[in-house]
């Protein structure tokens, strides 16, 4: 062993220091690895050396002139000097040549402080004002999705071309002369999409200046890494989306499911009902259409055998601490699950007959089969979470008296409301949440033939579509918002309309019409504009003389919900009636009481409730003396190849078709309306992913300040 290692190791002297390096290493990396800074620009640790910028020049005993250290391999006994007057002169000259064709625009450049050219300029002390510059005055190419190319800022280091060809094997970028200047182009100036670009972003990642940049606005916020993988950073639970999409592509479905399981205990439920902020942010959406991430999640969950995570997601040693969770919706059960895994003894109290909260008593069965909820709750119970259904908690003091040391309040927003308009108390005027609860409990619900639903959100659609299934023949939905601004998701709107629901946007109801105390219709005015004023109060401008009515024998209000917090909880509330949390500690106004879900945020999404449950679990665990580290690595680590290969036609690959199947006769039919994705479709869909996360594996060049 010793012999081998000495054979492949070379000893040389750099700036008087003895340095060891692997044979074949360049002098540049021998120096950098030894902590000796040598300025360099065209070289990049992930790319083959190029040797054009002349910044990394050094002196080597016995060698004529100033060789570029990036293209000079180390040799036994080599004596290298990285600093001398002559070297400094040569480097400054090289820098001045680079700066001559580069605009002085650090002050407004998005790349500033991440720019290698600026850092090198600072290191070498080259003053721009002394450089005789030529202005290229070329137009900035904004025509491609995701990336901007500013030829004015290009210093022809060739990194992007090498990254495109040699690192990724895609091969769409070329050098080309335009007028007197060289630039980076695609073949025949075609668009990136036409050229077979895979939009991997390697070119932008290795660009040392601001010549190739991500479009501003696509990289939101301060955290660049998060901005580059927006599917992951926009997920409230921070699920590693690109990783599980890749695992689906590779056919390793249990591993894909394990990745999701690392962050949430409800992968399958989410596969049905997540409002998928990831898809809104997906960078593929800028190229053509976003990846169908939610369907891939459902696919992964459906093909999960639990083999990779079930053995690892087991409780830690008992802490002897008892925690009560009030409410068994996604927020409460998520908090309970993670607290149980941290070793606490957890009991969930649920006032309704079965666990699941709004998953079970809000969302109708055609959107989320009950077997899916049952199966995921079973996994939560399997780790030892106790669920006491049919038990309403009226006082937190009572829980503390029973020996619970902490309480997580996650009782959702189950209290619907009616508008205070004349006739709102007529028979046949219902509240959405009550209506859905009755439908989901299987209670007798009297729905007339003509139904008007008031509201434009997802709950309103749940009411409207459930009403159709309960026998309504004509369902109108009226909301204040104009069609483009309806809060409901686009697939809800589409599917609802396919089921015959008639949407009446920009409508404000003025009163319920009734006969003998029974509703007969709703009177409306058309809305000219609906907005919020500077104090956040809603404002409605109506169209004069637009009064009209819709006939109805049932009216359902779905205009927002509030939490129903028992007085005995004694918790501080916000003006909106929600539970108030300390921004920094996540605690409520009572010691040992944390809160999560809709009762804190107002009616939101399942994924937000889950994320909030995770946060409450972290805060509670810390409060109970734990580490607050609830994440476990259960998915296998995979090596991802850097090479993608040519991508002709890649940009044009379309999103998997919608698999919505609306039954012909809706009455009494609560069967699911979206079919599972098949294996071929799932593979194809996952192949469309741009793999934005690959880019983060490209090495970062350390600037002089780091040495």
């Amino acid at each position: 062993m010793t012999d081998q290692s000495t054979e492949s190791t070379v000893t040389l002297t750099i700036d008087g220091r003895r340095v060891e390096a692997e044979a074949g290493t360049s002098v540049l990396y021998a120096a950098l690895d030894a902590g000796i800074y040598v300025p360099h620009l065209c070289d990049h640790p992930d790319l083959p050396p190029y040797g054009v910028c002349r910044l990394c020049v050094v002196e080597i005993e016995g060698v004529e002139g100033l060789p570029s250290s990036c293209v000079t391999p180390v040799a036994e006994g080599m004596v290298v000097q990285t600093q001398s007057e002559q070297i400094t002169q040569a480097r400054r000259l090289a820098m001045e040549l680079l700066l001559a064709g580069h605009p002085v625009d650090c002050g407004i450049c998005q790349k500033y402080l991440n720019c290698e050219l600026q850092s090198l300029k600072q290191y070498l002390g080259v003053e721009e004002s002394r450089v005789k510059r030529r202005s290229k005055l070329l137009p900035v190419n904004n025509s491609n999705p995701l990336f901007v190319y500013d030829p004015n800022k290009c210093v022809l280091c060739g990194r992007c071309v090498r990254a495109c060809w040699e690192l990724r094997g895609v091969g769409v970028l070329y050098y080309k002369k335009q007028g007197k200047e060289f630039h980076i182009f695609t073949r025949e100036g075609a668009s990136l999409a036409e050229s077979g670009c895979r939009f991997c972003g390697a070119c932008a990642e290795v660009c040392p200046t601001g010549a190739i940049q991500d479009k501003e606005g696509l990289i939101k916020g301060d955290n660049r890494k998060a901005g580059l993988v927006p599917c992951k950073s926009s997920c409230p639970a921070e699920i590693d989306v690109p990783l599980y999409v890749r695992l689906v592509k590779e056919g390793d479905y249990p591993a894909a499911a394990a990745v999701i399981r690392e962050k949430v205990p409800f992968p399958w439920v989410l596969g049905y009902v997540c409002d998928h902020p990831c898809e809104t942010e997906c960078r593929r959406g800028e190229v053509n259409e976003p990846i169908s991430i939610r369907e891939l999640k459902r696919f992964a969950a459906e093909h999960d055998d639990g083999s990779l995570w079930r053995d690892k997601m087991t409780p830690k040693d008992p802490t002897e601490k008892r925690v009560a969770v009030v409410g068994s919706g996604p927020a409460g059960l998520t908090a309970a699950y993670y607290l149980r895994l941290q070793g606490h003894d957890v009991t969930v109290f649920e006032s309704l007959p079965a666990a699941g909260g709004m998953l079970r008593y809000g969302i109708p069965e055609y959107r989320l089969p009950r077997s899916v909820i049952d199966s995921e709750i079973k996994e939560i119970e399997a780790v030892g979470v106790k669920i006491e259904t049919g038990t309403r908690v009226e006082s937190l003091d009572a829980l503390f008296e029973q020996g619970y040391e902490g309480v997580v309040v996650a009782l959702g927003t189950h209290k619907g409301q009616k508008l205070r308009v004349p006739g709102a108390n007529s028979a046949g005027v219902l509240i959405g949440t009550d209506f859905l609860r009755d439908v989901n409990l299987g209670n007798e619900v009297a729905v007339g033939k003509r139904v008007v639903v008031l509201g434009g959100g997802n709950v309103a659609f749940d009411c409207a579509r459930a009403a159709r299934r309960m026998g309504a023949e004509e369902v109108n939905m009226a909301c204040l918002e104009c069609r483009e601004e309806m809060p409901a998701g686009p697939d809800e709107i589409r599917e609802g309309e396919e089921e015959g629901i008639v949407i009446k946007p920009s409508h404000t109801s003025t009163r319920m019409l009734s006969e003998d105390g029974r509703v007969t219709g709703v009177e409306f005015l058309d809305v000219e504009a609906f907005f919020f004023d500077e104090d956040g109060a809603p404002q409605i401008d109506v169209v004069e003389g637009s009064l009209h009515a819709l006939e109805a024998d049932t009216v359902i209000f779905a205009i927002g919900q509030r939490p129903d917090i028992p007085e005995g909880f004694d918790l501080d509330k916000t003006d909106g009636g929600l539970i108030e949390l300390d921004e920094f500690t996540g605690s409520t106004s009572r010691e040992g009481v944390f809160a999560a879900g809709d009762a804190v945020s107002g009616t939101a999404s399942v994924i937000k409730a889950i994320a909030s449950g995770r946060k409450a679990a972290v805060a509670m665990d810390k409060y109970l003396g734990g580490s607050g580290r609830i994440d476990r690595k259960v998915a296998p680590q995979v090596e991802v190849p850097a090479c993608l290969g040519p991508g002709p036609g890649f940009a044009a690959l379309g999103r998997a078709a919608d698999r919505c199947v609306i039954p012909d006769d809706l009455t009494g039919n609560f069967c699911e309306v979206v079919e599972s994705m098949g294996e071929d479709d799932a593979r194809e869909e996952s192949t469309r992913c741009l793999q934005c996360d690959l880019r983060l594996k490209i090495k970062t060049v350390d600037f002089w300040g780091s040495f």
Partner: protein, 483 residues
């Protein structure tokens, strides 16, 4: 390459002029210092300044500049209507001269004590190689004195024990790491890129109504951390504004078009009406303030014609732009730049053969623009600006044959407050009690200014405040550490 130490005497948050001045001062006094910088490159906004303010410096004495500390103090306080913290102002002004000498000892070369505007004292000490040279010199000195500098390592929060600062939490490779330190100097450079805070504290919509220049990734980290640790607020509303055009990727800073736009010819609002005496262009603060009245529009226009261009080519600028382009600098590249902008279809630079056509291109009522120019040309003819009393030397009529318009935006160089400090740069809480071990300076600290940057009495003050507050914080912290 340096690794994150478990503990140090001092943690400095940010590697700009404030942080580096504090770090070198502390290291000179024997303290073990670590500087955390969240960006990959060092120096932040401090790479840009071309000169820095001082009074009663040796360089000024050699040039018969007789402006005194007392005069400067009075003028700066008057300028702020005594809204500024007088102890902070006095401390900075008094320290400023010594800081010039100190910087020279660190290897910084000053070429002159001058001024780049009329009617102002010569307080501007011009640096060879700009702020970048100051950053390089201070980093080299810091490293030579054993300071650990860690780029790409953001500080996320402060640690406190028994009411005293006990360290920081930093982020490294996605993990949070605690570093124990008895002293923390906050020098993270303000919040110029924090859209939410800019709206909340200044009322501007970042990106459309106002654009930051020379600021990247400034999210107010230091201010937030200090507030979380109980610091009081001061001066959070003040920003350093001026007027620049054209703005956009195609336009380099300091291009001929930018210089033309800054000249005191005819300026009009988005409605086509004059809005100021254009000679306020000589002083950035008033022109920034005048321009910001039209923040809802997001821009104003500079209007000129071929006679203006000819004058700039032959006689050069009236108003210099930065140190590199003094009055008299000739705009030889202007025609080429205008043509390139027009060829590229720019919406920022427009040209026409008539005022009517120009008005159409800039979407202004041609009647309004026509009346404005007619009125203005009338003032030029009579040699008296009845409207805004502009100096007659700059009253030059617009006669064509071609007319040009450049869109000018409100930009700002930084936010100028946030954390309340005393004259020793100690951070104070809401009862004006000192938070032991916590210091702040530069764009993170308030108290140096009133509602505007006092450009007339003390040009170069922002960088000077950074350097001097850093040095004062360093000296105060050494006393606290009993070094």
């Amino acid at each position: 390459m340096a690794s994150i130490p478990e503990k140090a005497d001092v943690a400095v948050v940010g590697s700009g002029a404030t942080g580096l001045a504090a770090a070198v001062t502390l290291a000179e006094g024997g303290a073990k210092v670590v500087v955390f910088e969240k960006q990959r490159s060092l120096g932040g906004t401090s790479n840009f300044f071309q000169g820095t303010f001082a009074v009663e410096s040796e360089m000024q004495r050699e040039r018969y500049v007789d402006y005194t500390r007392d005069e400067c103090f009075k003028q700066t306080m008057d300028y702020s209507h005594w809204m500024a913290n007088p102890r902070v102002v006095r401390a900075i002004i008094n320290e400023s001269a010594e800081t010039i000498s100190w910087l020279q000892e660190q290897g910084v070369v000053f070429t002159d004590a001058a001024i780049n505007m009329p009617e102002s004292p010569l307080t501007y000490h011009i640096i060879k190689g700009k702020g970048e040279a100051v950053v390089k010199a201070l980093v080299d000195q810091a490293k030579a004195k054993g300071v650990t500098i860690l780029p790409g390592t953001p500080v996320v929060s402060l640690l406190k024990e028994d009411g005293k600062i006990s360290g920081v939490v930093v982020e490294a490779d996605g993990e949070e790491v605690e570093v124990a330190a008895k002293v923390v100097v906050i020098a993270s450079g303000g919040f110029a890129n924090n859209k939410e805070w800019i709206k909340k504290y200044t009322g501007f919509e970042l990106g459309t109504e106002i654009t930051p220049v020379g600021n990247t990734g400034k999210t107010g980290d230091g201010i937030r951390m200090a507030w979380e640790a109980g610091a009081a607020e001061e001066g959070i509303e003040t920003i350093e504004m001026f007027r620049v055009g054209p703005v956009g990727d195609e336009f380099a800073m300091g291009c001929n078009l930018e210089q033309a736009t800054a000249q005191p010819d005819l300026w009009v609002t988005a409605k086509g009406e004059r809005f100021c005496d254009e000679t306020i262009t000589f002083w950035d603060t008033p022109v920034g303030n005048a321009q910001s009245r039209y923040k809802k529009d997001g821009y104003t226009f500079s209007i000129f014609d071929d006679s203006s261009i000819q004058r700039w080519m032959e006689r050069g600028l009236d108003k210099g732009v930065g140190v590199e382009f003094p009055p008299g600098y000739k705009l030889t590249n202007l025609h080429k730049e205008i043509q390139a902008a027009i060829d590229n279809g720019s919406a920022e630079v427009l040209a026409a053969d008539s005022l009517e056509d120009l008005a159409a291109q800039i979407e202004v009522d041609p009647g309004v623009l026509g009346a404005t120019v007619e009125e203005y040309n009338g003032y030029c003819a009579q040699g008296w600006d009845e409207l805004f009393a502009k100096d007659r030397r700059y009253l030059r009529p617009l006669v064509g044959p071609r007319f040009y318009a450049v869109r000018a935006r409100t930009v700002f160089l930084g936010t100028m407050g946030g954390i309340r400090v005393n004259g020793k740069m100690e951070v104070v809480d809401k009862k004006d009690g000192v938070i032991p071990g916590l210091y702040a300076g530069g764009f993170d600290a308030g108290g140096m200014y009133g509602d505007s940057y006092p450009i007339k009495s003390s040009s170069g003050l922002a960088s000077s405040f950074a350097l001097n507050s850093g040095r004062i914080a360093g000296k105060s912290a050494l006393r606290y550490l009993r070094k």
